[in-house]
């Protein structure tokens, strides 16, 4: 477990608990989706996972070690765990892209040459090297999202926390973003992302934690969690379309139990195609 949350409590000023006794484990190298409806406190949880917020009770463990909240502890922690918020405009500060991405590396105290190297690398891994000199306010929303991620990637975190990465993106924008995140995972980065979209969680996660009223009410493989329609219904969610279709196909005997369930729209249509033949 690279990251772990044990019985986290986060109480708001009004006495309302945004997180109550929340437990979560993040296995190294995986893509973990934190799935739940809007306003459930998913963003608050991410902020606890990199020490932006401090729990009123409970602990966060990094690599099995309890983390501290002193300045040096937080620095070490945030170097290893990067955070990308939902709204890219909240995360871009400098006049142009390269300058913005260099914010983190320079704060790490790296010499300029090395910081520049990190920036080039991060832009390349997001496939936005051509944007390096572009003023940030002239980017499209999808480009801004990728620049914001590059800003975190330039610090070479082991874990990247992403708040609703696909929010506001159209189909093509989402595809580009997920491809970039796939490359990061291939290089060894653990990815944790929040979403309210069951189809995205099914298409693009290894493990799912189901979030409801300040707790994780279930964590397991995507199939275990997303295939459990009754539990999903408690959270006012429906099973992913492709999964429902796949399960129906299995039930009808059109799909063998050792065959993979369709994950995406393309998989599902391919399955129907095979049926037709």
């Amino acid at each position: 477990m690279i990251l772990e949350a044990r019985s986290l409590v986060h109480a708001y000023a009004g006495g309302v608990e945004a997180l109550s006794d929340l437990c979560l484990t993040v296995p190294r190298g995986q893509r973990l989706a934190i799935l739940g409806p809007n306003g459930a406190g998913k963003t608050t949880l991410l902020m606890h996972l990199n020490g932006t917020l401090r729990p009123s009770a409970g602990q966060v463990l990094l690599d099995g070690q309890k983390v501290g909240y002193g300045r040096a502890d937080l620095n070490r922690w945030r170097r290893r765990v990067g955070l990308v918020l939902q709204e890219p405009d909240d995360q871009l500060f400098a006049a142009n892209v390269a300058e913005d991405v260099s914010f983190g590396p320079l704060n790490l105290g790296l010499p300029e040459a090395e910081a520049a190297q990190r920036v080039a690398e991060a832009l390349e891994s997001l496939r936005i090297s051509h944007l390096a000199d572009r003023p940030t306010h002239m980017l499209s929303f999808g480009q801004k999202k990728r620049v914001a991620i590059a800003g975190a990637v330039a610090m070479r975190p082991e874990v990247l926390l992403l708040d609703e990465p696909s929010a506001g993106l159209d189909a093509m924008g989402t595809a580009h973003l997920l491809a970039a995140l796939d490359r990061l995972q291939a290089m060894g980065t653990t990815l944790v992302f929040t979403t309210h979209d069951v189809d995205l969680a099914w298409a693009w996660s290894d493990a799912v934690a189901l979030f409801h009223q300040g707790r994780v009410i279930g964590q397991g493989t995507a199939e275990q969690i997303l295939g459990d329609a009754d539990t999903l219904a408690q959270v006012h969610l429906k099973p992913p379309f492709a999964l429902a279709l796949g399960l129906k196909a299995r039930q009808m005997g059109w799909l063998d139990f050792d065959q993979d369930l369709p994950r995406s729209r393309a998989d599902s249509l391919a399955l129907l195609d095979r049926l037709g033949r």
Partner: protein, 207 residues
């Protein structure tokens, strides 16, 4: 440098209200004229006021270890001018006293005078003067914002000294006392505010 609710004796509270009132009246009159010609400025001014409030909620690191916040009056004077800053500053001070219990209604007049009248005019004057004397843009901004902040603090110390003269050394001694105590936090803070304003103005020009 807010004077808290109830801190000034009634007579002083009334007197400072009377001193500040004309500045606010003139500012409001000018504002109404601007708004008649350009109604949409309502929203722009509101955004600027909200920005100033949020800026004052921003914690600035200070050398003494305690956290303090920028006054934003220098920035306001340079961006929208000192007269408009008086009105916006009054609105912000009202919200600070009502929402955060920082400042107060009885001390609103005194606080308006130090933070929304003296501060902006000093900052504006120093900024213009330094520019005219050939100082580099960054230095002029720094001096304006830093001295505007310091000016605010000197005025506040004077207001407190007038209200609470020293038994032995009178107003002078009292001023030395108040100025001395606040100097610990205010001088580093003035420098921080100066630097911050330079960063902001540079970034705004760069956009």
């Amino acid at each position: 440098m807010h004077i808290m609710e109830g801190f000034l004796p009634a007579g002083h509270a009334l007197a400072w209200t009377a001193v500040s009132a004309p500045f606010v009246f003139v500012g409001v009159a000018r504002l109404r004229k601007v708004l008649r010609d350009r109604p949409e400025m309502r929203l722009t001014l509101a955004a600027a006021g909200a920005f100033a409030f949020v800026l004052s909620a921003l914690k600035l690191p200070s050398v003494t270890g305690s956290c303090s916040h920028p006054t934003g009056t220098g920035l306001g004077a340079m961006v929208v001018g000192p007269a408009a800053t008086t009105v916006l500053g009054t609105i912000v001070l009202l919200f600070q006293s009502l929402l955060l219990a920082h400042g107060g209604l009885t001390t609103l007049g005194a606080n308006v005078f130090s933070m929304a009248v003296a501060g902006p005019w000093i900052a504006f004057g120093v900024w213009k003067l330094a520019g005219r004397l050939g100082a580099p843009v960054g230095l002029a901004v720094f001096l304006g914002a830093a001295l505007g902040d310091l000016g605010t603090y000197v005025v506040t110390s004077a207001q407190l000294a007038l209200a609470f003269p020293d038994e032995i050394s009178g107003y002078g001694g009292a001023f030395a006392k108040f100025a001395g105590i606040f100097a610990l936090t205010q001088i580093p803070l003035a420098i921080a505010e100066g630097l911050l304003t330079v960063v902001v103005m540079n970034a705004l020009v760069g956009r």
